[in-house]
């Protein structure tokens, strides 16, 4: 789950990381009031869950409350990379001297958290990473020990941070580590962490992503989820513990296991079809989960055929078959369904589906061919 900038910065501040004064606004009038409260120059920042907001014109500086209102009106009407801007953050404007990139994330290959910092922070950090990766300092943290102060000091030295700032930097580093650790973040990023003209370190921007698998112990964070920013079908899918991603094709796919789901999509494409979605019903999916998955697939009006590819390991094919029957009963689909069941209780599953009007297939290739043919009518 991604958090908005204003949410991330609020969490940062709880961990002792200095952030600019400011608040979030949903209307231009509110933005004006906040600007009046703050006094002086303010920054109006669109709150959407995509990168590159500044480059898209979604971040502007206002000299006074009146201009703040104008710019907020403009930004609140914008769409950035397809996402409408519903909120803006109004922050006091900082006089920036230096921009630093600072983040903690997972290094999957090393199986450890990694702290990353660069003195070349700011909006071009992707380019820095691509062209001059040596400018980004990386430090692995032992997940059992946590970040130690000497490590934070090493990072400060490695990015040539002047010694006067080391004490504050270490405090921010420990704060960022604790944010990452205690919220089960997969990314906790400050870009930029700036040195202001009045010699302070301030986190001007914040980005966080939380591990969905750890959400059970972060109910407070779960409430921060902004469902306006997601496709409705994806929100619905999450409610049932399904991984669903909508695509542009016309063959709906219901598969158990992410790997098999991707393989199924590949094979559909191999035979000239286009998958309408990625859907992993997960291991051990029962009848109600299957029924929910089918409803979700069929909400997409482009779907002309559905392929069920179930390899029963922990998932039991008879359970899935019951789910398919229940869902067919409920939604009464008018499009062809192709089903392939293999593995645990597959025989029982096939028997259950005998009387349902479904096209059966023995192998994945066979199933893919049949669904491509069915979708073409």
């Amino acid at each position: 789950m991604k958090l908005h900038e204003y949410q991330s910065k609020l969490i940062f501040s709880r961990y002792g990381i200095p952030i600019p004064k400011g608040r979030v606004a949903a209307t231009a009038q509110e933005a004006r009031h906040i600007a009046e409260e703050l006094g002086g120059r303010v920054v109006i920042k669109s709150q959407v869950l995509v990168g590159g907001r500044g480059k898209a014109g979604g971040v502007k500086v206002a000299r006074d409350p009146q201009e703040a209102e104008q710019l907020a009106t403009q930004i609140l009407g914008m769409e950035i990379k397809g996402l409408p801007v519903r909120k803006v953050l109004v922050d006091e404007a900082a006089a920036i001297e230096t921009e630093i990139y600072f983040a903690v994330t997972n290094d999957r290959a090393a199986r450890k958290p990694v702290m990353m910092a660069s003195s070349a922070g700011g909006v071009d950090i992707e380019e820095v990473a691509a062209k001059t990766p040596e400018k980004i300092v990386k430090l692995h943290v032992d997940p059992l020990l946590g970040l130690r102060e000497y490590q934070a000091r090493d990072v400060a030295a490695a990015i040539d941070l002047p010694r006067d700032y080391w004490k504050d930097f270490i405090k921010i580093a420990m704060g960022l580590w604790n944010v990452y650790r205690e919220t089960d973040a997969t990314l906790a990023e400050i870009n930029p962490l700036v040195i202001t003209k009045d010699k302070r370190l301030v986190a001007l921007d914040g980005k966080m992503m939380i591990d969905d698998n750890a959400m059970f112990r972060h109910l407070d964070l779960a409430e921060m989820r902004d469902i306006d920013e997601e496709a409705p079908a994806e929100t619905e899918a999450r409610k049932y513990g399904l991984s669903y991603i909508k695509l542009d094709g016309d063959i709906g796919c219901m598969v158990n296991g992410a790997g098999l789901a991707m393989t199924s999509m590949d094979v559909i494409k191999l035979f000239g079809g286009e998958p309408a979605n990625f859907l992993d019903i997960g291991g051990g999916a029962g009848a109600d989960k299957v029924a929910a998955a089918m409803r979700i697939i069929l909400t997409d009006s482009h779907v002309k055929a559905v392929l069920f590819n179930i390899f029963g390991g922990i998932t039991r094919c008879d359970e899935v078959a019951r789910g398919i029957l229940a869902a067919m009963d409920e939604v009464k689909p008018k499009i062809p369904m192709v089903v392939r069941l293999v593995g645990t209780n597959a025989e029982d599953g096939r028997k259950l589906l005998e009387n349902a009007k479904m096209i059966t297939a023995e192998t994945l290739a066979d199933a893919a061919k049949k669904s491509v043919a069915a979708a073409k009518g």
């Binding site: 997940p143 997969t186 750890a214 051990g284 593995g343 645990t344 023995e362 994945l364």
Partner: protein, 166 residues
Amino acid sequence: MSILVDRNTRLLVQGITGNEGLFHTTQMFAYGTNVVGGVTPGKGGEWVLNGKIPVFDSVKLAVEATEANASIIFVPARFAPDAMFEAADAGIPLIICITEGVAVQDMMRVRNYLDQKKVRLVGPNCPGLLTPGEAKVGIIPATSPFSVMSAWFPAPAHSPTKCYTP
């Protein structure tokens, strides 16, 4: 996977009285796997599979009683990290964790701890291991193409390899 499990493997099932645990213990036992015991905290003293397999309160107690040398985990994601730590601390050298959806940071801690103890971990989120004719330690269907690759079994009517050939 005979380098990891075979007929001499003494298998423990963590979460043996749960839905998945019990179902797959039955399947593994039917295949011939040497399942020596199970663990469900609070259910120590009970037996499953018609009195064939004893249940213990902890992995430590189970290891003392059964000399188990491998453990398979069927507990929900939020409890799986603790189950892996517990198995490692009880001296189990091979852990197979079937559970999917374990939090990433939990896994980084588990993995680094297990590495220090030189414990081998297969999983989490995996189908387990199969040594045809000797031991099925996991949720791999025993009639799947994996098992019949062995010459020990007659080939089934349909060609199993076709399952994965487009």
